[in-house]
Amino acid sequence: MSEIINLSRRVFLKTGVLIGGGLVLGVTLPTQRKRVYGATGPEAPYTPKAFVRIGTDGVVTVIVNKSEMGQGVYTSLPMLVAEELECDWSKIRVEGAPVDPVYNHTVFGIQVTGGSTSVATEWERMRKVGAAAREMLLGAAADTWKVPKKTCRAQNGVVYHGSKKLSYGQLAKKAASMPVPRKVSLKDPSAFKIIGKPTRRLDTPEKVDGKAIFGMDVTVTGTLVAVIARCPVFGGKVKGFNGEKAKLIPGVRDIVQIESGIAVVADNFWSAHKGRNALEIAWDEGPLAGLSTAGMRKEYADLVKTPGTTAKKAGDPENAMNTAAKKLTAEYEVPFWWILGQQAARSGQAPRSRR
């Protein structure tokens, strides 16, 4: 059960002003029998602790608490909100959430994206956000027309009553003063208009004009760039190094030994890169010094010939094989996945097949 709460009255109005008189909704899921956040004091800096914002221009901004990595979460979570909000899909915008406990993963308890969990864990919360906002907009319209709320109807970003109608943009300011419903009912899946339907990605335009900001595109004034020289063998360590030549490269600021190798810190990428190439490093290649593709392939091929662990046994396969009229032999190989190399690097051992 999730509970939808209002920000404190003062903060609510303050944020309303900051966003230009629109509707801001915040929700929390009391997963650990406590609220993830409390209402902040009026002097606290503004953070949009909300999942949806409706402007007086009718634009619906969904604040997505997940990282868009190509999995489509900047489209799928807004679909959940929009389904219940009954808004005009063409007016949906997406904004990445800032860091705040309210945006934590509903199960993992930290602000994280992964494990194919985004839609499953936001399935209820995002729909409730949309439903709560819709109820507040309906309430604002009913209040304006002095009619019972249940006689009003929301559709495609407009509230109707008989021949009267008001757009979400027209209602946004008043809706912000409506009480946030304690309970909302959600649609039966048979009534879904957006969920489950092929929908164009909302993040495509910014990914084809160069405007999308990826991790490495973030710039902070005064940031230096580091390029790291790493041991060519997993698990290896620096035995010794000479950074004198690297220090002579214009733009290089410092040479620092770190856990994974030697970092050259410079004013820009190219200076750091040239500095890295100018390093003289003696490596202790560690226990995997002799590791090779051919050697690993042989190791696995040999392991295949040894008895493995029985996961499940039914019938008498040995006898069936021995008495078969026709026997087929085939060898299958799959590419060696990089994560095994990572695990090898961490454990300092060659990966072994689990059999």
């Binding site: 190509g70 495509t204 084809v208 190219w270």
Partner: protein, 156 residues
């Protein structure tokens, strides 16, 4: 100082002459649409146009492009009318999106030389642009669509 013309604008930049064009575009000009992938012309994400031809900016020293017309994804997409840009949106091509600045620049260069490419032409011309998400089928469809848009005088 090095003088460069990027997306129709002139810039005076103070960098060492061996700096790859990519880093001048990204760091000096702040045009981060062009991406860094391998740094050795193997993946294509850094592709820009130099005098209309697709160039891997990560290995092109800035000194080699002085006085030439350089166009990045920001320049190509400006105004939103380029057939390749439009086709990429209409086919909803990107997944993670990281490689698509380079894909679009390579596709545009291909179409300027071969306005009606076959699947084989596309595969050959685009083979240097890697997409880890595997959007190759949509890339191919988008290039055919862009070719159609161009054949109809840029309109659809």
């Amino acid at each position: 100082m090095i003088s460069l013309k990027v997306n129709g604008k002139r810039y005076e930049i103070d960098v060492s002459s061996d700096t790859p064009l990519l880093w001048v575009i990204r760091e000096s000009l702040g045009l981060t649409g062009t991406k860094y992938g391998c740094g050795m012309a193997q993946c294509g994400v850094c592709t820009v146009h130099v005098n209309g031809r697709a160039v891997r900016s990560c290995v092109a020293p800035v000194s080699s492009v002085v006085g030439k017309d350089i166009v990045t994804i920001e320049g190509l997409a400006a105004g939103g009318s380029h057939p390749v840009y439009r086709a990429w949106i209409e086919e909803d091509v990107p997944q993670c999106g990281y490689c698509h600045s380079g894909q679009i620049m390579s596709a545009a260069a291909l179409l300027s030389e071969n306005p009606r490419p076959t699947d084989a032409d596309i595969d050959e011309a685009m083979s240097g642009n890697i997409c880890r998400c595997g959007t190759y089928q949509r890339i191919r469809r988008a290039i055919h669509r862009a070719a159609s848009i161009m054949a109809q005088g840029g309109k659809k």
